[in-house]
């Protein structure tokens, strides 16, 4: 069977821009949702036709992920149409995972039932905090009460549920974070994304932070918060299968695993990225980030790809390792070689590999995979440039 494929669908609109967010999201007074929906379907059809022409028609579809922006602002009918098209063009695996990101505001919660009916079987809620002051700081439009109500509603509707929290906020003490996280874990999701607040260039926070408006926990403090996060999650049976993602065994996000395992994925919508194995090799492509420009291009040409790049063996090995070492399961050397054309010994600096194994930053799993230990994961961004060739 050919390798399954993952599909990402980007909805680039938000009701408001959050001060920490550097994603491709845009605030528009009016959105012609039907027209954008049609363009997404057109881009999907274009990619399907291309794969067909490559002799890769009928690759099984393992997951769909509606991300954004705020995809819970999409009309449920648009969601339904895209799912229908996707599962028609690519035969879905029986356990296909279809996730949609939603905000816990009341307007969006009121649509969750319809979204479920459209075929979405996993909801991912942008809760971000269970503390009203923190939610205010993060520029969120909901309060903690609404967040809990949204989680309860979603739990009743979707077979699988995840939500996001942002920690290591200004002045946040480890004990406070533990308490907040425990309240979150008690809300019985099977998956959590727990992100340390980072300052991304070009965001409002970046400006304020540079001005000294607030400080963030750093160094030892940040490490202590991270450690506490893993401990609390483990008490509720959620394991850190990726740097910032915690799940009960079997409840991992299959779609996101496709990225980290460096599989093929299709990305449609403004600014979406994709990596597809075509005849010429593994091809990375990116689409126009501006929603209106993207729309115009899709309507004119069937797609809005602005840049493609055929990835060299070194590029592929680097990407596979920088993603794969984020996972607890690590990287399978055989898979690395098949995917990149380079053996592990060719892809990394052997002396640095030995040093990292020696220091217990990296380890060989019983299955013969190379994985980062807790200590290694903590310093992964420093480890990778040293390790990779």
């Amino acid at each position: 069977m050919p390798e399954p494929i993952a599909l990402y669908v980007h909805w680039p609109f938000c009701a408001a821009k959050c001060p920490y967010c550097d994603f491709n999201s845009h605030v528009r007074e009016r959105v012609d949702a039907a027209r954008f929906g049609a363009a997404l379907r057109r881009e999907l059809a274009f990619e399907a036709a291309r794969l067909e022409a490559e002799g890769q028609g009928g690759r099984p579809l393992a997951s769909i992920f509606f991300g954004g922006g705020t995809p819970s602002l999409m009309p449920p009918q648009v969601v339904a149409d895209i799912i229908a098209d996707a599962t028609r063009l690519f035969p879905p695996l029986p356990d296909i995972e279809i996730t949609l990101e939603a905000n816990p505001t009341s307007v969006e919660v009121s649509r969750l039932a319809e979204i479920r009916a459209a075929g979405v079987n996993r909801a991912s809620l942008g809760v971000q905090a269970l503390d009203d002051t923190a939610l205010g700081f993060l520029g969120r439009k909901h309060d903690a009460g609404q967040a809990i109500a949204a989680l309860e509603a979603a739990r009743g509707l979707f077979p699988r549920l995840s939500f996001d929290l942002i920690y290591a906020r200004p002045g946040q003490a480890v004990a406070e974070w533990r308490a907040e996280l425990r309240r979150a874990l008690a809300l019985a999701a099977d998956h959590l994304s727990l992100y340390q607040l980072t300052i991304e260039p070009g965001t409002r926070f970046a400006t304020e932070y540079a001005r000294g408006a607030f400080a963030l926990p750093e160094g030892e403090e940040a490490a202590a918060l991270y450690f506490a996060t893993g401990e609390e999650a483990a008490r509720f049976g959620l394991l850190p299968y990726e740097v910032s993602n915690y799940a009960k065994p079997g409840a991992e996000s299959r779609h996101n695993l496709a990225y980290w395992r460096y599989g093929d994925y299709l990305g449609i919508g403004a600014g979406a990225h994709q990596r597809l194995t075509l005849r010429e090799g593994l091809v990375a492509a990116r689409r126009h980030r501006g929603p209106e420009e993207w729309l115009a291009r899709v309507e004119a040409a069937g797609h809005a790809i602005t840049a493609t790049e055929i990835l060299s063996p070194t590029d592929r090995a680097r990407e596979a390792l920088l993603m794969g070492l984020r996972l607890s399961e690590g990287v399978d050397p055989a898979r690395l070689q098949a995917r990149s054309g380079l053996s592990l010994a060719e892809a990394v600096d052997p002396a640095m590999l030995a040093a990292c194994l020696d220091e217990d930053y990296l380890t060989w799993t019983p299955e013969g995979r190379l994985a980062a230990t807790w200590e290694g994961r903590l310093r992964l961004d420093a480890l990778l440039p040293a390790l990779l060739r």
Binding site: L197, T198, G219, Y259, R318, L322, L378, A386
Partner: protein
Amino acid sequence: MTNTPLSRIRNFSIIAHIDHGKSTLADRLIQATGSVALRDMKEQMLDSMELEQERGITIKAASVRLDYKAKDGNDYVLNLMDTPGHVDFAYEVSRSLAACEGSLLVVDASQGVEAQTLANVYQAIDANHEIVPVLNKIDLPAAEPERVKQQIEDVIGLDASEAVEISAKSGLNIEGVLEAIVHRLPAPQGDPDAPLKALLVDSWYDPYLGVIILIRVKDGTIRKGQKIRFMAEGTTQTVDSVGVFRPKMTPVDYLGPGEMGYLNAAIKTVAETNVGDTITDDRNPAAEPLAGFKPSIPVVWCGLYPVDADDFEKLRDSLGKLRLNDASFHFEAESSAALGFGFRCGFLGLLHLEIIQERLSREFDLDLIATAPSVVYKLTTNKGEAIDLHNPADMPDPTLIEKIEEPWIKATIMVPDEHLGSILTLCSERRGQQVELTYVGNRAMAVYRLPLNEVVFDFYDRLKSVSRGYASFDYVMDGYDEGDLVKISILVNNEPVDALSFMAHRTQAERRGRSICEKLKELIPRQLFKIPIQAAIGGRVIARETISAMSKDVTAKCYGGDISRKRKLLEKQKEGKKRMRQFGKVEIPQSAFIAALKMDS
């Protein structure tokens, strides 16, 4: 103008502690004799280098010819020889003094005798100078001429009862100084018919004329077209021109005995002209050269490295250009694992080092890093071989060394009584041996023998800070003594950093080793791995610090859209590593070593 009888010539220099008014007095003398039109007058006429003017120090010798009609109605030629005042240039000073018969000893009437006054006055006495004390700044409210006169008599042993009291700044009693030069300083002696003997006082490079040589004629005459011989160098040249400084270079037909002036010939570098050499007539040479010639030898060495590796060739050119004008400093290429390619440079002393470094950055716009200065150690191997060690990194295995000798100095420190205690503590910490301790009023004069090694390492700064800036200091070299000296290596991640190794006395080793380790711990950013930093003597670690591994550095969010961005970032980081120095599995930014070395100076 050059057939002045010997009896109407006076050759003199001015000796003074820094800031006691030497340059101002020189300016006034030039002005008072009308040697420079008022409109051409500027301050510190004789210090032509920007650095000399700014810092009030004289680096190169210079002379100026003053025409003075004295009160006795006669016309005199007064040749003022401006000499470097610093001990680094002690040999150059002694040659400049040898060109004169007398000195004005300028002392600040409120501050009194300082360490540098003493060092220089003793040199003048050694040169058999007649010395006229001059009390400057007499118009200041704090001036105490009687006390200072007494001090001059007590400390130096000179009769100061007829000291000339002046204010160079306001021009008060400059006439008195001129009359004292005429009547109290001796006229030169010399034989116009003897074979030529002229002292090479100094030389410098002029971009238009080539090398200009400052000379003092003792016997015979020197003229344009004459074939001359440098007796020590053994070379011959034909004189292109001779002249005097007024203070502009003014050609004359010839220079006779007792005269000071310049000569210029087809000489390309000052390295061919040794200060102290005797110039004679090639066809009618003098039988004996003038006494006292010795080549100047660097006593302090350090590595100079460009901060930007691309500046290496520029540094080589710049050092070459500076050497055109200063043959006393030496350089040779060397390389260091921590700092890349650079030069090992030898200097006459710490001020000389500082001056060269400053000129490189100022005149050649070079960003430099200097390793800790090292003195020259004399090693004797077990086999009886003698080695001069200029660079601690070159120190052979200590088991092969029979003995190590280090240079000592004799230092004179003058300090107000209330700071004496801390000065004595400092000197004894630095292995000083007290030679003499005397009081002059409320000022103490301590004479110590000190290892030069202890002085090149932050001694001035400590001296300044423990005396709140009131101590003055000067020294002369005082031979070599055997010492219990060890090489201390600094190891980063168990690998020695050659640029940071240094020699120290065994008793100082641990303290200094620890201080460098602590400093590096502050400066080296945390990394993926913990980094041990050690100071070691041979295989024995004497101090150790550990830089912990960085605590957390991992991207929180990384999904499908982030891969390309992360890969590009990785490529950039790998590029950045080229500026790092590899120590086993850790990479230290060169900037950390640079900062460590900068903190030293």
